[in-house]
Amino acid sequence: MSMDQQAIQTRLQTAFGDQIGEWHEMKTSAYATKYGSYLDVKNVDYLRDICLFLRDEADLKFDNLMLLSTVDNGDKTLSATYHMESTTHRHVFALKVTVSVDHARVPSVTGVWTSANWHEREGWDMMGIEFVGHPDLRRILLDEDYPGHPLRKDFKVPDFYHGMKVPY
């Protein structure tokens, strides 16, 4: 049976208590409330346990990680957002973790949802978040020797790459 997001959040809070942060609800439209609201995970180390809980509990059964995206917040922090759905219960939920740029390490959820594999590689490639425990954390799009992570706010385009001038 489908659960609303408040009930899922309460369920997580009873199970994990202080490791869970605040609930952010987006209220601009019904669609935005469903897909734009998210729950902050305060303690990054618990992310994998929380994800396993969300996947395995009989009334939650989040068996599909729809999207794993990353954000540079511009204040020396990076975020990773996890959108998930249950194909049996037809409900959706989102988690968000925030880490500092200097210590951008987030536990990998590839062991929870296999589809996270390439998403995490993209997060590493573009944003430079190291997903700890990922089985094969290589760049997914850019060359292996590309300097830096281009979607970071402080990224500067290199003047030359393999002898080719990059700026216009």
């Binding site: 060359d143 080719m164 216009y168």
Partner: protein, 154 residues
């Protein structure tokens, strides 16, 4: 020769005519421009009537149509493919991306701002993407260029 005809022509004219009439194309595309290139090859526009036959190998190709965004990762591969083509070889740069970087000119951290930074280009076809007619026009411009080539001058 029982009923043989005799044709008197210059050797350069003959060579150039042969070359411009059989510009075999390397069969590869890079991005959305490749869709228009394929449309140009298909029956509506029928690029083959100009003698342009797609070849699966650079060793058999005379022209390479750079049809799309040349990323930094692809640029070194494009250069290798160009070097594998036998002389004489010609390049058509198709579309804004391979001409000058196109929409990626400022924030394209991964895009080469013009394929002419790694290989020499004979004809630039503007457009985003160019219509097949524009590509055919570029091809005819290239044929005009081949027609005036000389064996003694480079």
């Amino acid at each position: 020769m029982e009923s043989g005809n005799v044709l008197i022509t210059g050797i350069e004219t003959l060579f150039n005519w042969a070359r411009l009439s059989s510009l075999w194309q390397m069969g590869f595309g890079l991005a959305c421009c490749a869709i228009e290139m394929m449309a140009a090859s298909a029956s509506h526009f029928d690029m083959m009537r100009f003698g342009v036959i797609p070849r699966p190998s650079p060793r058999q190709s005379d022209i390479m149509i750079i049809s799309g965004t040349v990323t930094l990762k692809m640029a070194s591969r494009v250069k290798i493919l160009y070097e594998q083509m036998p002389d004489p070889k010609y390049i058509i740069s198709m579309g804004s991306c391979s001409n000058c970087g196109g929409p990626y000119w400022e924030h394209g951290y991964h895009v080469l701002k013009g394929v002419d930074r790694v290989i020499p280009v004979d004809v630039y076809v503007p457009g985003c993407p160019p219509r097949p007619e524009a590509l055919l026009e570029g091809l005819m411009k290239l044929q005009e260029k081949v027609r005036t080539q000389s064996l003694s001058r480079a």
